[in-house]
Subunit: 210 residues, 6 copies
């Protein structure tokens, strides 16, 4: 091989490489504000393999809460390499009887059961519920924006992982949305037809006022 | 002008025109099933201006229902010219005290108040409520997938129109999603922390069972 | 309820909430330059319901101009909460005989007539015109990028609102594009086949030179 | 190598391959109607390399028309392999003094000059014109939806190719849109401020009526 | 509650529900050809929860092949509910020393290690490799279109799952692409700089000719 | 014409124009970091036609390298006006026998042959090769993410231009990806089944180590 030729080749390719390496990925730089498409990109020259690996989902969540369950997220702000790449994950730990309460988000989600037996389901916009018992190795798809939930119905703790097609999927839990704020009880009553006593109870549980 | 030249020009442009006229718009052809991007397109040669106009929103909705309100939609299946163009509308009529109950959909929505005084609001995914009294001419934006609602707080009926950036925006109303189906009460209880009596009441109101 | 458990739950949810609240919406921060997907986001902690409401469309436009009409826009730079959410609106006021001249923009538009009688139309890319008289309550869709127009043909002023599926839809009015600049008359003549005298007249009306 | 192992490997990969080969590309099948995202896909098993090559742009266009120019398109309906892949091309031939009249389309375009000297330009939505003389090897970008044009200003014929980021870019030429149809002259007058005589002349040139 | 009012309400909501239920999800109907956005949708009235659950990833793959590994896909053609929802998954089983050979696909991928210790990595477009040892619970992101690989470096079999943000992600394995077809050896030699003997060996292993 | 009326008209249109001119285009401002959707926009007030024209593709590339070919890119970092507009181009010069080695990128590409005779081809994800001899004026489409190549098979130098539907398409050349870095030879061996000697040779040619 002619070293001289190879040098020419590399000169040729240098601008090409720098042009494109930036956009292979866009690890979030939190020195700038977020934008509609995500965060600005860190300089790729300062990145290593460690930036593309996240170990936070390897740790069991603390399920000592009212739902006997926990959700731990790998999203852009916890795992910045996801920024701009359209994917995130979460680890779901369920104590016995544990529940991920009914919630929705902007994007679709697929759940994978690793341990245990859960009932998982979603509700269509015509109010049809689709729910089923899932065992180890089963996956289920929850279409974007539809309310969905998971309940551990086995005798043992359960473990599942979910993947979502956004680095920042959003996450709105219905009972929290109603009970964890100061939206006046009479408005909540009108927009839900729940009883005032029930609403006040939700507010007590979730820390809301009014 | 040289007619001969013009003829050449038209010959030139005929394939061009037919190539592109199809994709200017894609009025839904319901002879084929829906797809992820919407319905197949009707042959543009059979379309007239009438296909691009819809008068269904000009009629006041019947508000004689439990919410004293009505929502009438101009979406792809009622106004097929919207197919593939990323827009839809709805007319909201409110009787005195009328309410559009809390709901969400895949896409963002902007509301325009034409008559009356309403409180409109949405709840962020960190449970912060953003709500305000709107008067004639005010607009408010409801970001995609977040729970939102409107309540007529004036002394007279109110009228508003909303626009959404999809021809098929979806529409999931929380209390209907919980009460208008056969999802077992004990599951609903676990995933909402509502009382069983409250859930049974919602099921009675909205026609659900179990 | 066990307060201890609730505390654990809230600890669990804090990172989740902060992760997602940013991206529920992205109210434009004009301290940074625009980008291909819109402006950077203001810190959501500093936002209130007021940021999501705009009253500018409630005021009748001044139609004392050559077209006896006005268009007032609620777009990202006038209503920053629209940034990143894919929607904008405009109020169209028409004096008697008022006209919104033929124009186009990147995105689709739906018009809603509130008062009066107008002729609205668009021209397909194969040059077919689709136009029709619209009355109160009628809506019409104008597909993206196609030339369209509205003319008040009633005996009274007219009022309409349009919605567009971008927070920054662009807006190119044909006669302004030809007449309101210094593009040389001989070039305009060649690219339009208009007469030089006609072009000079457009330039006089719209303030162009050359 | 162990043939047995290889057989296992192939069994493993057969479903994988068939799963993905369909969606590598989607050569248009005109037996089904178009849809918002393009045409249905032909069975890849029936495709050969010939389906991915198009020779139609190798032939000089006939410029014997009123504009002394021609545009020949490689778009989805002439080159079906483009379907779904977001690209198209056109060949522009210019006689001496030839002109591609002012026009716009939904998507962005880049022009590459192969022979000759042309003036190319576009007009921003604030009516600013951006135009420049281009020589062999120059490229210029025309942003989506903005009016643009090309004029051969050299002493010889010119040749250029354009690329657009849609398989079906649309194409609306201003003077054709006004003159090549039966839109009434008085409406055109109002929406353009052109004189009636000028409009009638355009209609004569482009074959319109009324 | 007034039953009469509820009836009105339901009449109101019936068209709404049918409008939107179709587009909550779009389970693939293989009676129609694929399109650029995916398959046509099955009638939602015929769907049950079973359609949204897939158990194929619960079964260990057969790793008795040359790579001592297997990849089993849950994509649109094996799990039709994924159609149009932008997500798919795969199960990766590794025997001791098992390898998922270097490959790429159109979309981004996140891997989750369930058992064992693997080295996973990708190569940027400036040829920088990013690779690291992953243990149980670790996740790593592979940006779209970049070459990536996994190698079991532990003493035991390993298990991992990957998620991708398309229902039909594509999958091109470099050595298969070069060796499993009849592309002439001399062409492969020129476009890779591999030796002819090496290429013939790949063709022998992967079943190619020429 | 009534100057007074025109003044009113211009007052009306000033905010409109400033609103939309920003987003007609977004010439990259390299004072800010890249983001997932591209670079921030320069102030349009400082731009001229020169910013939208690039002459770098008019110069023949230096083909004195191991592949007897060169690729010169017009992408966002070399031609900043492309930023956000979804298009880029490259000029390919081939000496006699010149080769663009097998590579892939995130987006689709169309090639146009200007001079000479080349064999161009791509390999589907089921390993089917699609290749053909192309002559002057021929175009060929290479679907996104699939490996493709070009070889000059004529007796003279060849020239081609390619267009891609991203301003930053990425570019990963297989042999460089394997040989131009320090990825250990034993890992490369496992993930490609290439012989160690072959890999060491690639590393020598492309400057890799290990």
């Amino acid at each position: 091989m002619d070293a001289q030729k190879i040098i020419f080749l590399f000169i040729l390719l240098v601008p090409l490489s720098s042009a494109t390496s930036v956009v292979d990925f866009c690890v979030a730089d939190f020195n700038y504000p977020d934008g509609p498409a995500g965060y600005a990109c860190r300089n790729p020259a300062n990145l290593t393999a460690d930036d593309f690996v996240y170990s936070g989902l390897g740790v069991a969540g603390n399920t000592s809460n009212i739902f006997n369950a926990s959700a731990f997220l790998a999203v852009d702000i916890t795992f910045p390499a996801l920024n701009g790449l359209g994917l995130s994950m979460a680890r779901l730990d369920f104590g016995v009887g544990g529940v991920i309460p009914i919630h929705a988000h902007r994007v679709s989600e697929v759940i994978l059961v690793i341990e245990g037996t859960i009932i998982a389901g979603f509700i269509g916009s015509n109010n049809t519920p689709y729910y089923k018992t899932l065992n180890k190795g089963d996956i289920m798809i929850f279409p974007q924006s539809l309310l969905h939930f998971q309940v551990n119905v086995g005798d043992l703790p359960a473990l599942a992982f979910v993947s979502l097609n956004s680095a920042s999927p959003g996450f709105q839990t219905t009972s929290f949305a109603l009970g964890a704020n100061d939206l006046p009880t009479d408005i909540i009553q009108k927009i839900t037809l729940l009883d005032a006593a029930q609403i006040r109870q939700l507010k007590t549980v979730f820390g809301g006022t009014n």
